[in-house]
Symmetry: C2
């Protein structure tokens, strides 16, 4: 069976998990503590990062962006990128917005500071980073609401990789209880629709040992 090497609170890994569930692909999850720099794993991906997908035949595809394009090419139904080049450009633009910009401005400042640092024994969270993450998230939640005012889903009429990318990031920040949902009704309504998709169930069942999520995390009527 396909194997996905992952970490539970890693947005790129969550993106691929949801993507594969949307495409109804079976796979086994294997947690990889990347900071241990295990030799067998570095042979799979010299960059030493998750996610890495290993196909039944042994083909190895590292990186969330690369895996997403590969799965779209090899398992095109249902498409999560769109039906023509301009639609796909808009989906990719927004997916990248969340994969890169949201990640850099919000997720790294909150999730990596609070969780990854603990596992990597890198000391206490940096309070300046935490403050930056809390300040920056409002702008992104406003952007989600602005898009949803004009479209059914973030990139257009259809649920797409843009929604998956945004929800993958937000779900990690939500796990540490740092999404101010009550101040952003538009984004909350969109996220409630994402949460109710069966593809999202695995994400909502995640439990990091010693660090339970807030009670609303897995609640579909949060």
């Amino acid at each position: 069976m396909r194997v996905l090497y992952h970490l539970p609170l890693h947005p790129g890994c969550r993106k691929i998990r949801v993507l594969m569930r949307e495409k109804k692909l079976d796979f086994e999850l294997k947690a990889e503590q990347v900071w241990e720099r295990r030799e067998g794993f570095l042979r799979l991906n010299p960059a030493g990062e998750v996610p890495v997908l290993v196909e039944d035949g042994g083909a190895v595809i590292p990186d969330a962006g690369v895996i997403a394009e590969y799965l779209e090419e090899t398992c095109p139904e249902p498409t999560l990128l769109g039906h023509d080049p301009m639609e796909r450009a808009e989906v990719r633009r927004l997916a990248l917005w969340f994969d890169a910009k949201f990640n850099r401005e919000v997720t790294i400042n909150l999730v990596d500071e609070k969780i990854l640092k603990r596992f990597m024994k890198l000391g206490h969270p940096d309070s300046q980073a935490i403050r930056a993450g809390h300040a920056n998230i409002h702008y992104h939640l406003d952007y989600i609401a602005w898009l949803c005012d004009r479209r059914t889903w973030l990139a257009g009429d259809d649920f797409s990789m843009a929604d998956i990318a945004a929800a993958a990031q937000l779900s990690c920040v939500d796990y540490v209880g740092d999404v101010p949902w009550e101040q952003h009704q538009g984004a909350k309504d969109w996220y409630a629709r994402v949460k109710s998709r069966p593809s999202f169930r695995g994400i909502l069942a995640d439990q990091v040992p010693g660090l339970p999520p807030p009670s609303h995390y897995a609640d579909l009527d949060f």
Copy 2:
């Protein structure tokens, strides 16, 4: 005519310039001082970043990664991604290696510190960043040589987006004179082959006012 909003020493912009030349697409270059946050430009790309491609009909496609996929879909000949999903996964893996990892570990530490900070009036280069860039580049030049020992071009038999991505980064670092070519013959031989391609001529003609490149920069027999 197609317009590409760009900055001369921006690796993502250089990647798209070379890509369009390889595909023999005509385009006009417009320099965009992104730090001025010009309103008309922010309407094209709310992320406020170059490159942005504007098509003849007015379609707007921002971000180097998104533009590259869009051009491959709309102008597929010659392909710069490869002919089957696994080939394309390897090209995308390596392109991302240079777009993200090399950029973060080398280019930002050297080019952004020395050039971008000056234009943005952010003060002097950070000597710790400069040292990190100088230390990290060896590992990447070794990786290029290792790949070229086993393959004609970085990702396989054909010149691809992987070569373009790597050369786009290295050419910026080379402009500030910080590539230790003499210690890395394998990478130098590969870069000499890239430099000799007609698609690369525009890059080698770049001149940043007040900051001329070293004499070997545009020399094909450097």
